[in-house]
């Protein structure tokens, strides 16, 4: 046996996963409260001792960690046009596992400066203009940011003709220059920026967040947690040279505060009579719905779907549902213990998935032209994706997983939204996705085989939408 320890320092819980790499076996998982304010090792040691109660004493040969503790990787970004460079900057940051506090477009004003000052982000991403295009906006914004008396690093990834001027304006603070996130109109180039974000995370953010005291036995905190999940999903979809992947997929992580959606699929139009509009989207795409979560953002779910829908899905009266929602919004640590709460959580989780996947997926509109019926697609067409991976407490601790998950599928009553038509639901019952993303850095084949074993299918193999 050759045990490896994989650690996820979360904002609330430190989660540990042990695998035996020799036999490609999951040994166990455990969690304990994160202790960021005292010594982060305390929470880690607690989690490991809970783990070892079931596995017995383990002699770990390697230890890897990811982190979303202390607020995660908090970023602010500014671009020019909201749907173009500002969107590209958002895509770049989300794909690097960041938590986006705010996206600015056009020129920053004094109020924005106050906001940036008070947020004091971990990284600011400054973009705008295609190469050779608009340079006034990014230069103006660089000048504004230069007035802020704080040392957060700035990544410049805008119009290359303006980059050096911006660098000069921002002299005195940590500035990194990257290729433009949108070098030509409509062309997305986010990988260089993502790499830079990750470098800064490793060098700087970990220190700033007091995570350096982590036991020297750990080979280091390698990435933000969402990046680890994203890596795991990409590996699961694509496979390795020796082990086949399961193909295109959509993954859903419904949390207490946010709901994250990942899609690994090209999603471009299939038919010649479809016109694509808007910025092309990345093959590996992540979106975060900050207003959709089971507890801290419980009211956001209600705002999105309406209390009528929650009432219909749960079978509770509107009044009772609202009472319970108000209670849960204040008591965020309550887990469902009776039928009533279970019914409510079912309705909430279903609505969270439905809302978040709809926002993530593209849309198709019909347009009647002189040449006949034409389709206009914006965003990713995920209708042909047939695997849906689900994780998060509300999905893995319930018997109705497939039913809840089906709300992330294509709804015939809303044919414009391009969600998967039918899919096999794969459940991350033991909460191992982030750990497998970490493991995949060194043992991709093993990580893939463990995921294939541990992600359990639920519902029928071609699950469709249940209203």
């Amino acid at each position: 046996m050759k045990p490896i320890l994989l650690i996820d320092f979360g904002s609330t819980y430190t989660k540990v996963t042990a695998v035996d790499i020799e036999n490609e076996k999951l040994l166990g998982t455990a969690s304990s409260f994160t202790t960021i304010f005292t010594d982060i090792n305390e929470g880690l040691n607690n989690a490991v001792s809970i783990l070892e109660k079931t596995t017995g004493k383990l002699d770990f040969t390697e230890r890897y960690a990811c982190s979303s503790a202390a607020g995660g990787l908090r970023m602010m970004v500014s671009g020019l046009v909201p749907e173009l460079t500002a969107e590209a900057a958002k895509q770049a940051s989300l794909g690097a596992g960041a938590k986006i506090i705010k996206v600015y477009s056009f020129e920053l004003n004094e109020d924005d400066l106050e906001e940036i000052k008070s947020v004091n982000p971990d990284i600011f991403l400054l973009v705008g203009g295609t190469d050779g295009g608009n340079s006034e906006c990014i230069i103006h914004n660089a000048k504004m940011i230069a007035q802020i008396d704080s040392d957060f690093p700035v990544i410049i990834a805008g119009n290359r003709n303006a980059v050096h001027q911006c660098e000069k304006i921002l002299a005195g603070r940590r500035v990194e220059v990257c290729e433009n996130v949108m070098p030509k109109f409509g062309m997305l180039n986010i990988e260089p920026t993502q790499k830079k974000i990750r470098d800064i995370f490793l060098e700087r953010i970990i220190q700033a967040k007091g995570l350096t005291s982590v036991s020297s036995l750990i080979s280091g905190i390698m990435m933000p947690t969402p990046s680890a999940v994203m890596k795991a999903m990409q590996l699961l979809a694509e496979g390795t040279e020796t082990e086949k992947g399961i193909g295109d997929l959509v993954a859903v992580d419904v949390g207490g505060a946010t709901t994250d959606i990942y899609s690994i699929a090209d999603g471009m139009p299939e038919h010649a009579n479809t016109v694509y509009k808007g910025l092309p989207e990345p093959y590996v795409k992540r979106t975060v719905e900050g207003d959709i979560g089971m507890r801290y953002s419980i009211h956001g779910i209600v705002d999105a779907v309406g209390i009528k829908r929650i009432s219909a899905l749960s079978g509770l009266t509107e009044q009772r549902a609202q009472e319970m929602i108000d209670y849960l919004g204040k008591h965020t640590d309550v887990v469902p213990t009776d039928d009533e709460f279970e019914a409510l959580d079912y309705a909430l989780a279903s609505s969270a998935i439905e809302t978040a996947v709809t926002r993530h997926a593209g849309a198709m509109e019909e347009a009647y032209t002189m040449m006949g019926l034409t389709y206009v697609q914006s965003g990713k067409d995920l209708t042909r994706v047939n695997k849906l991976v689900v994780t998060g407490g509300s999905l893995i601790h319930t018997k109705r997983t497939a039913e809840i998950a089906s709300h992330g599928l294509y709804n015939p009553a809303q044919p414009k939204s391009l969600k998967p038509k039918s899919a096999q639901i794969l459940v991350d019952r033991k909460y191992i996705l982030a750990a497998m993303g970490l493991l995949s850095e060194y043992y991709p084949d093993s990580a893939l085989r463990i995921m294939k074993k541990e992600l359990i299918a639920d519902g029928n193999p071609e699950q469709t939408y249940i209203g």
């Binding site: 173009l84 050779g132 608009n134 050096h164 109109f185 016109v275 509009k277």
Partner: protein, 160 residues
Amino acid sequence: MSKKVLVIGVIGADVHAVGNQILYHAFTDAGFEVVNLGVMVSQEEYIAAAIESKADAIVISSLYGQGELDCRGMREKCDEAGLKGIPLLVGGNIVIGKQPFDEVEKRFKAMGFDRAFPPGTPPETTIEALREILGNDDDENENKEKNKEENKEKNKEENK
């Protein structure tokens, strides 16, 4: 000197793609930097593309007769978006039926278009018009300061 940037596309619910491709190649061959938005382009898309790419002119095509409706308000939106004075050109079958073109042209000019071209206009005519509109005085005023910094960059790059 840097290339002039054109934003082109077919406006409205119009899917005529062939002429759009021909114009794209003709303009590119003529030395323009062309941002081609393809077919079924909304006014907002032209404007967004023109802002990001700091376009020197917008060239709108319309082949299906609804161009007059589709183009209405374009100049006002450009003004609103900070593209004050950007040259707007339009061409194709821009109105329904056979109407005397000088009247059609008058209407489009009243809508704020700098040029309107009748059906069957060869690309060369449009290119000539663009050269005339974008000519040299424009370079001297606007580009002098803008290019100072850019040219320095470019030279650096090229010397590498």
